[in-house]
């Protein structure tokens, strides 16, 4: 540490100078913009959550399970996603489907988002296009680990994001439950 740096005061002052320079420069530009100088642009703050940044259509957001026309899951519980998942965060239990042409259906399909690494392998592996990560929902924090587990019902209720990338579904609030 240089001798001058040992006295924090000098560093604090230089920090305040830097911040103040940005503040006044931005203020000057915004005022100039407001007074009619169109080429002057200050730094922009997005008013989240009312405003959202545009997101890439390839963004991997919260998963959803795709529904058939009758509302039942398109998933056939083949366990490809569970097998390929590097975080082991998918839990599927298979059951018999009444229609032998479909044959298999998940009795349980849980994703533990506390473990999920959002790699998207489950979407890649799915032979039925039954799981997608296109809800646009990024806000799914919770107060407990168990409420990070999203069940089949919660995942089935989600809609894809709109054309503007904004989520169509409310952020789901899963009931408390645990992985057995």
């Amino acid at each position: 540490m240089r001798f001058g740096q040992r006295f924090y005061l000098a560093e604090v002052v230089s920090g305040i100078v830097l911040t103040a320079r940005h503040f006044f420069a931005n203020m000057g530009r915004h005022i100039a913009h407001a007074l009619g100088r169109r080429q002057a642009r200050g730094a922009v703050t997005i008013q989240y959550p009312e405003e959202r940044r545009p997101m890439s259509p390839r963004l991997r957001s919260l998963h959803r399970l795709v529904r058939r026309e009758d509302g039942s899951p398109r998933c056939v519980a083949c366990m490809m996603c569970e097998t390929v998942c590097p975080a082991h965060c998918i839990y599927i239990v298979a059951d018999e489907h009444p229609n032998p042409e479909i044959e298999k259906v998940p009795a349980r399909f849980d994703i533990d988002l506390g473990k999920c690494v959002f790699c998207g392998y489950c979407v890649e592996a799915c032979p039925e296009d039954a799981i997608r990560m296109d809800t646009g929902i990024l806000e799914f924090s919770a107060y407990s680990r168990s409420s990070m587990i999203y069940t089949k019902e919660a995942l089935l209720a989600l809609e894809p994001a709109g054309a503007d990338g904004r989520p169509q579904s409310p952020i789901p609030m899963p009931a408390r439950r645990t992985v057995s």
Binding site: V76, A77, C78, M79, M80, E82, T83, Y91, V93, A94, D95, E96, P100, E101, I102, E103, K104, R108, P127, E128, V179, S180
Partner: protein, 528 residues
């Protein structure tokens, strides 16, 4: 003994060997579906085509016997082209529903498609649809669309069981496997058709949708269902505990043994594993005083057992061993009897109902180790022990696993005998009406949770291996007896099953010279 050359390698085989088997001896695989060494030759799938130097066209290897001077080529361009066309033909009406098919991962259609398939299908017409998810019997589910009509299952029911329930009906690409009118696939070996089905047409109803096969682990084992001692593989599901309703043993599969069970096992043995993950499993030692039940640690339970045994005179103590126990456990029982100085040791408890028997595998004696228990000198009079217990001459009884209240004995008398006991010790895998009466209950590990050997009715000593960890605090019987012996002050050096077997082989002439290594995978006959 014809000498022939396969892919440039010379080999001499017994007369009558076909080319598939001759190639197998050289480690060369000739792909096939309909051929099975245990069944007659059908020549139906046409996949096993090989080139012979003196034949104008490829020939099926299954129905061509090796001849002197024959030159076989299994990997020429013409053979590969033939396999590709035949695979294309087999897949014309196959639904390719591998994601929902239980066979996926152990399906020969998948395996040979990856090796020999025509990757760009040329078929443009619609597939023929056939019945799906049809139960053929209590254990087998048919998906006729996936069937490639190899007819192995039909031949199995005709030739091995002789029951002939299955047939191929209709013609051309509408041919399908089905039951004859009025028949049901209820023979005692029906599960084997699932094993021999090379594709996913026949699947196991018990295993259906429980676990994907790539999650299974396997261990070599011996079926404990009867005195035959069929060689099996135990398939366990440990990686994803939420699968198969939490059951750890997913299924049992037969393992080839030329002299015991060949490729087959019976359904009773195949589905006889439910007790392993049943809710009635004993998982911790228990002391019962009147109505009060105390859970114990082993460090408390073993001294409690030793104290109870010390409290009684040697002639007041009896041990009721079980022919379901391994040789190692029985030898430990004998060591315990010698230490206690009691001669009241028996193992034969007559079953309430006589067992069925047939000429193929099933034996009337439903115990895996009756012969071993006889050879180890435990053959006392169990009925006399119970009578003496009722009369009060025996005051302490240790029962190993037997449910004496549901045996051929009058239940009221057996119940009276058990309630007269001053000390009743029970060790076993599952709770029963006897464990509910016992003063000390010791949880034993199930056979898939430990190592050991059993001696089948012919005198073949065979090893079973550990597939799982014991549930809860359960211990193998030889280990818990060994701990009791050590507490009683006996010099016990054996801790593992193999140590007990070494001690047994050194002491019992019938087992002389045997080791785990010499028993190996095929077993070893006891000395006459």
């Amino acid at each position: 003994m014809p000498r022939l050359t396969i892919d440039g390698k010379p080999i001499e085989v017994p007369a009558g060997t076909n080319i598939i088997e001759a190639a197998r001896l050289l480690g060369i695989e000739v792909p096939h579906y309909c051929y099975h060494p245990g069944l007659s030759i059908a020549g139906q799938c046409r996949l096993c085509m090989v080139d012979l130097d003196n034949a104008p066209r490829p020939t099926i290897a299954c129905n061509t016997q090796a001849a002197d001077g024959m030159v076989v080529m299994t990997d020429t361009e013409r053979v590969r082209e033939t396999r590709r066309s035949i695979m294309e033909f087999h897949l014309i009406n196959h639904p390719l529903d591998c994601p929902v098919c239980d066979q996926a991962g152990e399906c020969w259609l998948q395996i040979y498609y990856m090796k020999h398939g025509l990757y760009d299908p040329r078929m443009v017409d619609d597939k023929v649809h056939k019945p799906k998810a049809v139960p053929l019997g209590p254990h087998v589910m048919l998906d006729a669309e996936r069937c490639i009509l190899c007819s192995r299952c039909v031949r199995f029911c005709d030739e091995i069981t002789g029951t002939g329930e299955l047939g191929i009906f209709h013609r051309g690409d509408h041919s399908e496997i089905g039951l004859f009118p009025g028949a049901d696939l209820t023979n005692k070996y029906s599960g084997n058709v699932v094993d021999i089905c090379p594709v996913g047409a026949l699947t196991d109803r018990d295993f259906r949708f429980q676990v994907r096969v790539w999650y299974l682990d396997t261990a070599r084992s011996i079926c404990q269902g009867c005195a035959r001692g069929c060689n099996i593989e135990v398939h366990t599901s440990r990686r994803r505990p939420h699968h198969a309703q939490g059951r750890r043993v997913a299924r049992l599969k037969p393992r080839y043994h030329a002299e015991v069970n060949r490729w087959w096992i019976c359904d009773e043995g195949r589905y006889g594993f439910a007790f392993v993950d049943d809710a009635s499993r004993l998982t911790f030692p228990v002391r019962r005083e009147g109505q009060a039940v105390h859970e114990l640690l082993w460090d408390e339970a073993i001294p409690a057992v030793a104290d109870a045994l010390r409290r009684h005179q040697p002639d007041e103590i009896a041990l009721l061993a079980s022919p379901k126990m391994a040789n190692e456990d029985l030898w430990a029982v004998r060591a315990l009897a010698e230490r206690l100085g009691t001669a009241r040791v028996a193992f034969r408890v007559p079953p309430a109902a006589g067992g069925d028997q047939d000429d193929l595998l099933i034996r009337a004696d439903k115990n895996p180790n009756t012969r071993g228990a006889e050879l180890l000198g435990l053959d006392g009079d169990a009925a006399a022990i119970m009578a003496d217990l009722r009369a009060g001459a025996i005051k302490c009884l240790w029962i190993f696993g037997h449910d004496v209240l549901h045996a051929a004995w009058p239940p009221a008398e057996a119940f009276e005998a058990l309630t007269r006991a001053q000390t009743l010790i029970f060790s076993g895998t599952n709770a029963s009406s006897v464990s509910a009466l016992a003063h000390l209950v010791l949880p034993a590990a199930a056979w898939v949770e430990r190592e050991g050997t059993v001696t089948n009715f012919e005198g073949r000593v065979q090893r079973f291996r550990r597939a799982l960890d014991p549930l809860g605090a359960a211990l193998p019987e030889h280990e818990l007896i060994g701990r009791v012996l050590a507490t009683l002050g006996a010099p016990v050096s054996a801790t593992r099953a193999e140590h007990w077997f070494r001690a047994l082989a050194a002491a019992v002439p019938a087992f002389a010279g045997m080791t785990y290594a010499s028993i190996g995978d095929t077993g070893q006959m006891v000395s006459p």
